[in-house]
């Protein structure tokens, strides 16, 4: 590794320290690393580890409140601190490109794709004629897999899906053939299958141009698949760096080991006691979103679910997986009674339910939900105790003291005993908030819980703890669960049965081991190819096994 640092490193960061200017708090401490030309390096860390700040300061794009207090950053042998604003601007885009996390907001919604792509060329390669720029843009759009490049030039960002936008973003950066591409969580907002396609495109494209890549991510396994070297950061410091395969096989630092052990893995299958009636039985469920109805027009509705049938037995955890737009969240919300269905029946413990019907009140009490975003699912103006207690409000025949006892009991079950009851959601971390959301869902002792992506907003190590808590509560109270997730790793750990959805239809369902080991549908295989199976090594690390690696990437929709 030292040889890379000393000779001809493309980027050489030495003892970089960053502080919050106002308070003097160090957020990045003495970080040193180097990137060789053409090398792909991953920086891995959880939120607050300073990974984004450290990398943004390379382009001098850190927020104004952050000051560089020590260290040097050399790019192509030049110290960036000595550059003028003009020279820095030439560097940005021209020599160092950046792909952002959020494809929905990183393209300007009011400019056509063509103009946005040309913009960089016009700034950095002034000699190029308009026709020359257009030819380059068309060529690059074709290479990132846009089916109709000519049409795309005149199109606006909203006409493309998240994955397509990220391809376009990648195209706009690679057009200028930078020496270094910085990718800040480039695929975190995308679902697993699309993530794999975009990353493979990124790696292929940068290798072809000899562009080095600095990829920031919280997902160790994903980074390990595509990078040559990995840097692990924690609380503003680098705790470990090394070659990807070696780091994974034999991690040295306890934190790296903790990250690896937090990766979800399969547990032995649980026996589900046989029962006569399923707790939830969905038959031929159809959900249609109504079209807009104005005075003079009526647009056709969109069918989100095409006649699904699904049953969940008592004590069973059924995972619902699929890419974004597959209708899994719609199904969850329809079962929860948050969306009206246009056809089909939902039965709870053998009895049909419908809003306002006789079984409704019982069902409402027995079906609870955990939402995806712990930052938005808790009323910011209520204390934790009040939030959890509110769920008991409509429970008849429960005294005030009894309710208070139950709230305290549940809060201690989720590990938030004592002073937490009087705190407000904003005083809690994301993981703690999600524990509150879980407490609120189970405080009534429901028979059935719908969990809509309950851990996808959480950091890796926190996610492992929350999953463990959830599984623990499920085993103790024996509620059935519909677990909605796009993350097959999590599903593999927690589910008894797996239901795979695509385009509003169930394409495959079966017990976990069968679906994961012998998937019968092509879409399931494609989903599985995006996540690794872990095999522990003797040295405290893991080996990643990629399943169905030969599966062709998703065909680009035209």
């Amino acid at each position: 590794m030292t040889d890379i640092v000393s000779s001809g490193a493309l980027l050489d960061v030495e003892a970089l320290s960053l502080s919050v200017a106002a308070t003097g708090t160090e957020v990045v401490r003495g970080v040193s690393f180097a990137v060789a030309p053409g090398e792909i390096v991953g920086i891995v860390g959880e939120s607050g580890s300073g990974k984004t700040l450290a990398v943004r300061s390379i382009m001098a794009l850190q927020p104004p409140a952050i000051r560089r207090t020590a260290g040097t950053i050399r790019f192509e042998g030049r110290d960036l601190a000595g550059l003028s604003a003009k020279e820095l601007r030439d560097l940005r885009g021209g020599r160092i490109g950046m792909v952002f996390q959020e494809p929905m907001t990183s393209l300007n919604p009011s400019m056509t794709i063509g103009r946005q792509l040309e913009e960089g060329l016009a700034v950095h390669q002034r000699t190029l004629s308009a026709d020359g720029r257009r030819a380059l843009v068309l060529d690059m759009l074709r290479r990132v897999g846009i089916a109709d490049p000519d049409g795309a030039l005149a199109a606006y960002p909203h006409q493309f899906s998240g994955g397509m936008r990220q391809r376009i973003m990648l195209a706009s950066v690679m057009l200028l053939q930078p020496a270094l591409l910085i990718a800040d969580e480039p695929t975190t907002a995308l679902d697993a299958v699309v993530q794999r396609d975009v990353l493979e495109l990124m790696v292929g494209l940068t290798r072809a141009h000899g562009t080095a890549v600095l990829m920031i991510s919280h997902d160790l396994s994903m980074v390990a698949r595509y990078t040559d070297r990995i840097i692990v950061m924690r609380r503003g410091e680098i705790v470990e760096q090394g070659r990807s395969d070696e780091l994974l096989r034999a991690p040295q630092h306890p934190y790296t080991r903790a990250l690896l052990s937090a990766m979800p893995r399969r547990l032995p299958a649980r026996p589900i006691p046989p029962a006569a009636t399923p707790i939830i039985e969905v038959r031929d469920l159809v959900v249609e979103y109504g079209g807009r109805r104005g005075l003079f027009r009526k647009e056709a509705g969109k069918r989100a679910l095409h006649g699904l049938s699904l049953s969940i037995m008592p004590r069973e955890v059924v995972a619902l997986v699929g890419g974004s737009g597959s209708g899994k969240t719609t199904l969850g919300r329809a079962i929860a009674g948050l969306l009206p269905s246009s056809g089909g029946t939902i039965r709870y413990a053998g009895r049909p339910i419908g809003a306002g019907g006789p079984g409704w009140a019982v069902y409402r009490r027995n079906c609870q939900m955990v939402f995806q975003d712990p930052y938005s699912s808790l009323d910011p103006r209520m204390t934790i105790g009040a939030l959890v207690g509110e769920a008991l409000r409509t429970v008849p025949a429960m005294g005030r003291g009894e309710k208070a006892d139950r709230v305290a009991e549940v809060l201690s079950e989720v590990g938030l005993a004592g002073p937490f009851a009087d705190r407000y959601p904003h005083e809690l971390s994301g993981g703690q908030r999600q524990r509150v959301a879980i407490a609120r869902a189970v405080v009534r002792r429901p028979a059935f819980v719908i969990a809509d992506e309950p851990v996808s907003a959480l950091d890796v190590t926190v996610r492992a703890q929350v999953l463990e808590l959830f599984a623990d509560l499920q085993a103790r109270h024996g509620f059935s669960c519909l677990f909605i997730s796009h993350d097959l790793g999590v599903v593999e750990q927690i589910a008894d049965r797996v239901v795979v959805m695509q385009d509003g239809r169930i394409v495959e369902q079966g017990d976990r081991d069968t679906v994961f080991d012998h998937p019968s549908h092509a879409y399931t295989r494609r989903l599985l190819s995006a996540i690794p199976a872990l095999a522990p090594t003797g040295e405290g690390g893991v080996r990643l096994k990629w399943r169905f690696d030969d599966v062709a990437p998703e065909p680009v929709p035209s």
Binding site: A336, G337, L338, A361, R364, R365, C367, Q368, M369, F371, Q372, D373, S376, S377, L378, D379, P380, R381, T383, E390, A391, R393, T394, Y424, H426, A437, R440
Partner: protein
């Protein structure tokens, strides 16, 4: 914590002074605020008349004190009326959406299209030019802007997952609106109410200017300011002191409003 208490202290001191002045003005003033004295007209501030006298020889300080009660009452009632009505309309419109929303907002936008002062003028000719008429007229005139802002806040709040969580818990719609949506609208509402307070004080003076305010000789800060215009070259204190009272009260209200908003928001409580 420090900034918050400074707001409270300063705003409280200002509003406290104004309130004391208003209460005192209702029972005692140095001179009779309505007593005309043509010999001593347009006297500059001095030992006998601290803030001078106006074009009819009336004592300015006495008139300001007597006006404080009327002006504060009109402004507070107007803001309260517009706030309550606008919040109700905004909540219903934003939460129910659909046709209710469209009809209410079409009506609301039609009202917004008129300048508030024009609307108030029209209403005043119906309600009659007195304090109650002004409260009703200005209150209705400012309702549409409150309704718009509350509706916007509600629209974004109702999509938040905690509102959905409340439905999953089996809470009624009414409970959800009152318990989860209304309290989260309080921040923008207070900001709006404090600035509205200023608009109302000024609108009242504009109405006086047009001859439709509180009828003379009863003083309000607004009509005193309006009446000072012809004499601004000879007797500048006639404009300065009522203007100063209005500005100071606005400052006090804004400071208190900020402090109140922060106090009601748990996220701001205890923050540095």
């Amino acid at each position: 914590m420090k900034r918050l208490s400074l707001n409270v202290v300063l705003g409280g001191a200002i509003i406290g002074t104004v309130v004391v002045g208003a209460v005192l003005g209702a029972v005692w003033t140095p001179y009779d605020p309505l007593k005309i004295d043509f010999v001593g007209r347009l006297a500059p501030p001095g030992a006998s008349h601290w803030l001078g006298t106006d074009e009819f020889g009336r004592d300015v300080l006495s008139r300001l004190m007597a006006a404080a009660a009327t002006s504060m009452l009109i402004s507070l009632s107007t803001v309260a009326a517009a706030g309550l009505l606008g919040t109700a309309v905004g909540l219903v419109s934003g939460y129910l959406r659909g046709w209710t929303d469209r009809i209410l907002m079409a009506f609301n936008d039609a009202l917004l299209a008129f300048p508030a002062i024009l609307l108030a003028l029209g209403l005043l000719t119906v309600a009659g030019a007195n304090s109650y008429g002004i409260i009703v007229a200005l209150g209705l005139a400012y309702t549409p802007s409150v309704a718009r802002i509350v509706r916007g806040t509600v629209l974004s709040l109702r999509e938040r997952e905690f509102v959905e969580a409340s439905r999953v818990m089996g809470n009624s719609e009414l409970y959800t609106v009152l318990r989860h949506i209304l309290p989260n609208c309080v921040g923008p509402m207070i900001v709006l109410a404090t600035s509205m307070f200023g608009w109302v004080l000024l609108a009242e003076s504009a109405l006086s200017f047009l001859g439709l305010g509180v009828p003379p000789p009863a003083p309000t800060w607004g009509n005193m300011l309006a009446a000072s215009r012809p004499f601004i070259a000879q007797a500048v204190w006639l404009a300065i002191f009522p203007g100063f009272c209005i500005s100071l009260t606005l400052l006090g209200i804004n400071l208190l409003g900020d402090a109140l908003r922060d106090r009601l928001d748990p996220r701001m409580r205890g923050a540095s």
